[in-house]
Amino acid sequence: MELPSSSAMETDANVPPAAPPKPLFQALKPHEMSDGKVQFRKIPVPSHRFAPLKRNWMEIYTPIYEQMKVDIRMNLKARRVELKTRQDTPDVSHLQKCADFVHAFMLGFDLCDALALLRLDDLYVDSFEIKDVKTLRGEHLSRAIGRLSGKGGKTKFAIENSTRTRIVIADTKIHILGSFVNIKVARDSLCSLILGSPAGKVYSKLRAVSARIAERF
């Protein structure tokens, strides 16, 4: 923030010498940046995630409170998780990250997977529905869901492992957690599965793509 005044003075010879010295400001604290206001985030809890939340509450609470320096509480009456910035919250984005983390957990992701959201910046959660891809009804829909997950979930795991993403199939809704490129690859595979291609075909494509991705890095 504070420019070195000496350099300014050295470069500028034409400036009149009778100028007051520039003020030196200390760095703003995060809570000061938002004008001292406290920010909130409210994340509703679906009923089927209530029990897992209760179970994993400490694992959620600890990293948020300790490392992110964000206040967190569960509003039981409203069935919400509420987040609030503190004074010593280092960055504004921390609150958002925590919110994303909790939201990911609510969507159905595992804790360890959702934790990556806290740690890495460039991870996102992408959601879409089966009907966005293809209008299926009744048995076709059920079969499509079955195709997506595979026998014992092996197709889903295969996609997850090869693309380094995490996938949650919640009835007709599909959520993907991962980096942007990986989300794209995973989404393409899932869409092809929805449209009806057999798993073997998807595997071969995955292999090729993942090899390319691995080579790049």
Binding site: D110, L111, C112, D113, L115, A116, L118, R119, L120, L123, G150, G153, K154, T155, F157, A158, E160, N161, S162, R164, T165, R166, L177, G178, Y203, L206, R207, S210, A211, A214, F217
Partner: protein
């Protein structure tokens, strides 16, 4: 009286006739008169004289002319009767029960007529100088007269018989006629059309036939020239032809035979068809046939006029003409080179015997042996296990097989955060690369393999392969090379021994304490002191006051 004269004439010796005697002449006159009167009733047309004027005053010539007047119409009549009798006799020989009577009667009659004929012939002989031809004629006449008379008698008798057998379908006359015609065809005898002619025509027309008969008598039994024509003109023409051919002998015979046979062939066809109307329509049919026949006769005559050489030449010429005509005309489709289906008539290729190469092996005829042989082969192959299976061509490994990254279908044990953590750690270099399970196994396998390879190469004293470099911490025994070079292990080289520099660098105290001299000891102590002083000068020593605070 006449009969007596005849009998007396018969008994006299022939020698007596050589010399003229009035007794014999009177006898003969009487006999001839008797014969004349006896024959008179049989004559169809009455002669002017009722009895023979055979007095002494009459000349032989005159008497002969009278007899001639009588005999001229009589002879043909008798001849016909004789021929008819002949036929009837043949018929009746087949028919049982009829022959005996007729033959008996005929024989008697024959005897009577024979006498008459003989006397007639004798009389003629005596009266004038007759030629041998005449005698032959008379003989022929006699034979024919006999036949005719027999025919007459038989005819009379047969008429009685026939009416018992015949009905509206069967007529014995027709039957006889048919048989006669058949025989005539076979042997070339003159057909018995004369009988029919005599039945339906006047005797005036028969004069020509008489002449014909006279001519025929002169020759062999196979008579020619009985050209059975109805009209006079045709007859005359054919008579002329016959004479010409007669002059040339066998040629004409054949021709006539052909003609007659041909005619007879044609004629015979008809009775089979129209048996009932035979007698009435036969003349018309004959007319037509004869007209057609005449043309053939003429061409045949022309041919016969040419010699054999001429005939051959004519044949050749006709052949040449034919061939030239064929050459001028467009060729048949089989002779043209390439023919499409449009150029030849429909289905014409089926009729022609085409010959073309079959490039297809003909289908094998399946017999039991073939089947048995096949089955044996199959069994043998099964036992041997030698099947002609298609074997995949072994693909040459052009390059090393790429390591396929296996898709892990299990739930990943690490969370996403941990994966990224590891990735970051690798990048940053903080942590060693985590070896995946497959890599560990691979490394282990590699190690084992290298050890084995080393042992194997040692067998050949490393002539071709260098010792593999295994990068791992191993204790190097600083053993002198001499100790190593023993029985087997020429394999061990001293290249892996520690270098002198590695043992000792050179700085520091080289000499051992026992080796030190006095001056060296002093020097060492002095160095030590100097070092110590330097170090203590660097460290800030805590200063002590006089008071010890």
């Amino acid at each position: 009286m006449g009969e007596e004269a005849l009998s007396r004439l018969r008994t006299t010796e022939p020698v007596a006739y050589l010399a003229p005697s009035p007794e014999l002449s009177s006898l003969t006159r009487a006999a001839s008169g008797h014969l004349y009167s006896s024959l008179l009733p049989f004559c169809p047309s009455k002669p002017p004289l009722d009895h023979l004027l055979s007095d002494q005053s009459f000349d032989a010539e005159q008497i002969w002319s009278q007899i001639d007047l009588l005999s001229k119409p009589l002879l043909p009549f008798l001849r016909r009767q004789l021929s008819r009798l002949e036929k009837e006799s043949k018929l009746q020989s087949s028919l049982p029960g009829n022959t005996l009577k007729s033959t008996g009667k005929t024989k008697k009659d024959e005897e009577e007529e024979e006498d008459n004929d003989e006397e007639l012939g004798l009389g003629d002989e005596e009266e004038g100088d007759e030629d041998e031809d005449d005698e032959e004629e008379d003989d022929g006449e006699e034979f024919e007269d006999k036949d005719e008379e027999e025919g007459e008698d038989e005819k009379g008798e047969d008429e009685v018989k026939d009416k018992a057998v015949e009905d509206k379908f069967l007529k014995i006359k027709e039957l006889e006629k048919f048989l006669e015609d058949g025989e005539a065809e076979e042997y070339g005898l003159p057909t018995q059309k004369k009988k029919i002619d005599q039945d339906y025509q006047d005797n005036g027309n028969e004069t020509d036939q008489d002449e014909e008969d006279d001519d025929d008598d002169e020759e062999d039994a196979l008579d020619i020239g009985n050209l059975d024509d109805d009209s006079e003109g045709e007859l005359e023409e054919e008579m002329e032809n016959a004479r010409y051919e007669d002059f040339f002998g066998c040629q004409s015979n054949k021709g006539a035979l052909k003609k007659s046979s041909r005619k007879k062939v044609k004629f015979d066809d008809r009775p089979q068809i129209n048996e009932i109307e035979y007698e009435e329509t036969d003349d018309e049919i004959e007319n037509k046939e004869i007209e057609y026949q005449e043309n053939d006769d003429e061409t045949e005559n022309n041919k016969k006029n040419m010699s054999t050489h001429e005939k051959e030449v004519a044949k050749l010429r006709s052949k040449i003409e034919e061939m030239e005509r064929a050459n001028l005309e467009p060729k048949s489709w089989t002779m043209i080179g390439e023919v499409t289906a449009a150029k030849r008539p429909v289905n014409s290729a089926l009729e022609v015997d085409l010959d073309f190469e079959h490039n297809v092996r003909p289908a094998p005829v399946i017999t039991e042996e073939v089947t048995a042989s096949l089955e044996e082969l199959i069994k043998k192959r099964i036992i041997d296990g030698q099947f002609d299976d298609v074997q995949r061509a072994p693909s040459l490994p052009s390059k090393a097989p790429r390591e396929l990254k296996e898709l892990d279908e299990n739930k990943s044990k690490q969370g996403l955060a941990e994966i990224y953590e590891e990735e970051y750690a690798q990048k940053a270099g903080l942590a060693t690369a985590p070896i995946s399970v497959s890599d560990e196994l691979k490394k282990e396998a590699e190690m084992l393999f290298k050890k084995i390879c080393l042992k194997l190469d040692a067998l050949s004293h490393f002539h071709f392969a260098p010792k593999p470099i295994i990068e791992d911490m191993s204790i190097q025994a600083n053993v002198p090379a001499l100790a190593m070079e023993e029985i087997a292990p020429i394999a061990v080289s001293d290249a892996a021994m520690l270098a002198p520099e590695e043992i000792f660098e050179g700085k520091g105290d080289v000499k051992d304490e026992k080796e030190l001299t006095g001056a060296d000891r002093k020097r060492r102590r002095a160095n030590k002191k100097r070092r110590f002083k330097a170090e203590s000068a660097k460290k800030p020593r805590p200063t002590t006051d006089a008071n010890g605070q």
